[in-house]
Amino acid sequence: MTRVLLSALTKTYPGAPAPALDRLTLDVPSGELTALLGPSGCGKTTTMKMIAGLLEPTSGDITFDGRSILREKPENRGVVMVFQNYLLFPYMSVADNVGFGLRMRKVPKDQIAARVAEMLALVKLPDLGRRRPSELSGGQQQRVALARALIVQPKVLLLDEPLSNLDAHLRIEMRDLIRGIQKDLGITTIFVTHDQEEAVVLADRVALILNGRLRQYDVPDAFYRRPADAEVAAFFGGKNVLPGVSANGTFDGPLGRLTLPQGALTGPGLLTFRPEAVRIGFAHVNAVQARVAERLYLGTQTRLRLTVGDTAVDAVLSPDLVEGIGPGDEITINLPPGSLWVMEGKR
């Protein structure tokens, strides 16, 4: 159980005009699974490599349980990184790959064999020890890479895009495997990804990094319901962002006067709500007349593009609720106050 604290961590590559990572401060609680989320080139892989000791920070500090690890060599940090392309050593068997870390620590052979068998069982590949990595599928290679990392009982586990090379059904299987093992062993785990879906399905907490700066650090749900600003909302696919003024518990904007939940930000700001929050039908609060511009069938859900005056509103609803509603129809919608969120900023 290790608490990882990054303090004002900065990396500027020689000759680069702007830092790749700019004063990142992040408190990763012990035993939690944390995602560093951001588009490629945002500094998240740089952060991982600095924690692993493969790259030196320009300034700032990294502490494990309050002790700085910057002076420790990578092999002494108790951090294991699992790379995106797994990097299994091609000329070793699967069992030798998994046992690599223990061989480097000069653990007796019979103990290594027992631990390797244990780890292969943990990642549900008990019979593949004698195979070569090239004989395995991508998903199997990733499990071997995970077993190879876990066998040394790291304080901190780093995963680089752990789900992005897998197809849809393998993703769910792998997510359940990673989460299950991580919760069982209680290893503080940090993973990086550019895919917001990967981040929210796997992580306990998500740190969103845009342009080398931390923008929001929160539980996954908060990025949908309480985004810090319009850019964060946009990164999570939030389409409904409307300018206006919040005062006395109401918001005046393109949809008229809407009732806000308690504790909402006051002053000029941006109103946002998820397309899934839109209800059809009249209500005593926040009822709005809208015209249907477009209807899109998405399988389990139906998306309606609505217009209120000149303002577009996106709604996603269950198909049976929108039966008989088509383009050109005038409908009444309502927005439950609890689903509304006001952010700083203006359009």
Binding site: K49, A52, G53, L54, K73, P74, E75, V79, V80, M81, F83, N85, L87, F89, Y91, F100, G101, R103, M104, R105, R148, A149, V152
Partner: protein
Amino acid sequence: MNNPSRLSRSMLVLSGAVLIIWLILPLVPMLIWSFARGWRFPDLLPQQWSLQAWEYALSDRSGVIESLGVTVVIAALATALSILVGVPAGRALGLYKFRGKGLVELMILAPVIVPGIAVALGLHSVFIQLGLTNTLAGVVLVHLVPTLPYMTLVMAGIFANYDPAYESQARSLGANAFQTFWHVTLPAIMPGIIVGGLFAFLVSWSQYVLTLLIGGGRVITLPLLLFNFASAGRNDITGAIGIIYILPGILILLFTARHLSGSNGAVGGFGRV
């Protein structure tokens, strides 16, 4: 379907025959000479056979065994030094981009292009000042001039297809710098070290001019001895020494045949020459 395969078969036989005539046939007279007592034109085979030349060649008087030892030591040291310098140099050329890389590549290739005697004459005056002439150490050093380009280019080819992230992975799993090199880097680049090392060994083995100039007649390698007997007109002894001399080359060729296929990364470096 039958015709093309028959055609390719006969082409294979034909090219094999050409290869044998080209490479093996010239060795046959040498072998015959080594067992002949007098072999005069126009006889197809010697009138009398004898083991005299071999007896002489393998005796202490000829100095063949001694210079065989000298040649092996020089070639082995030159190979070891080539590996020591060529592996890091090849890594730099194969993995990294840096300013002036083209110039560095050209300089490394230069000894292959510039005639050896020109290089040796220049080096000779430097080696005199350093006291390296007429010494084994001096000969080993001068042999690096032709061996290093081969070693470096082979290793550059290997490293161009090498992912250094494996080393980061090993460090992260708890291997120290030496363990990482020994367990991860070395196995990956071993084919290149074997092929490049054998090239370096053979190149050193066949040096004549450089050995003669820097060794000053004090360091007698097998090719020098061979040339002495050849110019003295002793075809029988020349034949026997010649056979001894080409033996390592044949053994090495047999040993490396499987490393030398076109699909091997170790020979990829030559595509750049």
